[in-house]
């Protein structure tokens, strides 16, 4: 099975995957990337700001082959006076 690397940028830092995952296909890798965004966002505490999350998938040779992005925007609206 082909190896894919998942680099994650959560807006504050970028983490390069050095281990990789063996997955059945490119399609599965794209699903894993989307799922990773969902798992990160599930546990986030958005402090009234804009936050972007980017998962870049690289293939066995280290070439980027897919990128998935999610954005969260928290905006306190205040009480009407």
């Amino acid at each position: 099975m082909p190896l894919f690397y998942f680099d994650i940028n959560d807006g504050t830092r970028r983490r390069y995957d050095t281990e990789g995952q063996e997955l059945a296909s490119f399609e599965v890798a794209t699903q894993v990337a989307a799922q990773e965004l969902a798992l990160i966002i599930k546990d986030e505490h958005l402090g009234g700001t804009r936050q972007s999350y980017i998962v870049t998938v690289r293939d066995q040779g280290g070439i980027p082959v897919f990128v998935a992005t999610a954005m969260m925007l928290g905006e306190p609206l205040g009480l009407p006076s």
Binding site: I8, D17, E36, L39, K42
Partner: protein
Amino acid sequence: MADENYLIRKLRHGANLEAEDIGRLERIFDRFKSVGAGCDLIAEGQPPSHVHVIMSGTACRYKVLPDGRRAIVSLLLPGDFCDLHVAILGHMDHSIGTLTDCEIALIERDVLADMLIHYPLINRACWWATLVDEAVLREWLVNIGRRSSEQQLAHLFCELHARLETVGLTEGQSFFMPFTQTTLADLLGISAVHVQRVMSSLRDKGLLSLQDRRINLIDFRGLAELSDFDPVYLHLKTDI
């Protein structure tokens, strides 16, 4: 106590076993077998003839979903019965598989049933073991359903430490943790990629370290606090 097998070490937490109980438990195993990692001990639907006890290594209860994903619903560690209840239920509603190389002891169903009738303290200890299994499952449900991924992983490690300590398989705050990221992911219902991210985060916070498959819970209290781990659900005695 140092020479006692893991089953006896564990069951001591469930009842004040006397010399005759210990003597019976020392002779209870019919035979032993070695099983490699990734093998089924019992598959779903089978009517088992023996009850299995883990002597070394780790096994798990699991179910496989139609799309091939695996959900691990409990971990079986040295001293744990794999299937005490099938002596009564008759067939398996889930599979039991090894996660590492295991040494398994087998007890004949009839012999076990007979022992439970004639040795009330062992009977009590086995009840205890079954009830604790249920308590662990309840805690796992909370863990998977309600905690953040970081808390889930921290809680799992705290529980593993507490359970392995019961049978004397920890060294201070560290223990052998042979699981792959995929196994940890199947245990927590998250992905292997996310396990890697969360592990890094726990490491960066100085809560734990991992080297050569040994995990060191550097800051056990910190991990327990983070994950709301309270070992009371394991119902362990402190005076053994």
